[in-house]
Assembly symmetry: C6
Homo-oligomer: 76 residues x 6
């Protein structure tokens, strides 16, 4: 199983870093609940609940903080 | 889809950094729930629930922490 | 709209840094729910619920962490 | 109102840093809900709920992280 | 009891770092609830609840942040 | 009351650092709810609830992040 796509935290741009953050968060969910059918069943309830969306965005924010630090915030 | 408006974490001022934090958080919600109509339906319930607002502010706080570090806290 | 009062994270003292953390958190709530009447309606329920208060204190703690780092923890 | 007792994040020891973290978290609750009677009413329900206690410990953990960094982790 | 497999935060790759983050999070649950039968009973309910999965992914994200910092983000 | 056993964040190994993180988290709960009987009553409900366990593991993760930084991640 791949948990970190590309096996690197380094990206060219913040945009790609953000995409990686979302991907990593999703891979973690896949690792904890490997059954794709179950994840598919859960999606509608979760994607139509504001607090569930906020909780998911929270996780992405934390993953992104790590990726941004890894890339020295793409300062140059 | 744009996840990081301007594709940079660098801003001129803390105020602009804060605006970026809010924008990034919203873009993430849009990435997880791409249907604008659904997001529109969810907004009234969420925007009139104190805990939901606090949860959203929490995410903004984390995004801002990353942006502030990227900008060396606008110290100079 | 002002999101960061004074447009700076720098304060003279930890006490002022803490006040700024609270102010920034409140400004974020105001940005998400701009209607002051709605915020006013929500306050009693939220301010008399222990978990809601803890959640709010949590956000302040994160904002303060950023402000404290910006000020090099007021070490000197 | 005092939000940071002693108006400093520096302490002699980790133990004192931990006490300060708890004190700062409590002061924040006091700032958000200034009425001592209300806080007193809320305490029994909150102090006998495991999740409420965990949430409170979470906030202390974050305040302590800031204080520990301020003190260079009391390494010497 | 082992809480940190290998007793080190250093890994060769981000992928291994991510695996370690998941392992450490699970070991903590095992430390708090040492009874394997109880953990087994809890798993179906938790693994089929979207918010529970998000909460778990949140913990993994925080463990990974620590591991990534320990490894200087596997930059070289 | 002791909040930080040994009054130091420095440990020989990550494993000991993890044990300290758990101990510190527990001491905080003890500080907020000093009555051991109450804590004893709460334990079964909390230890058999997956989300409660995840919330507790979350706090341990944050305490560990601080301890790991204090120990320079036990890199050498």
């Amino acid at each position: 199983m791949t948990l970190v796509p590309g096996n690197s935290l380094l990206t060219e741009t913040p945009e790609e870093g953000r995409e990686l953050a979302i991907a990593i968060a999703r891979k973690t969910i896949g690792a904890i609940q490997p059954d794709a059918d179950t994840r598919h069943v859960l999606r509608p309830g979760y994607a139509t609940n504001a607090d569930s969306l906020t909780m998911a965005a929270h996780v992405v924010a934390i993953e992104f903080a790590t990726i941004a630090a890894a890339n020295n915030y793409w300062r140059t």
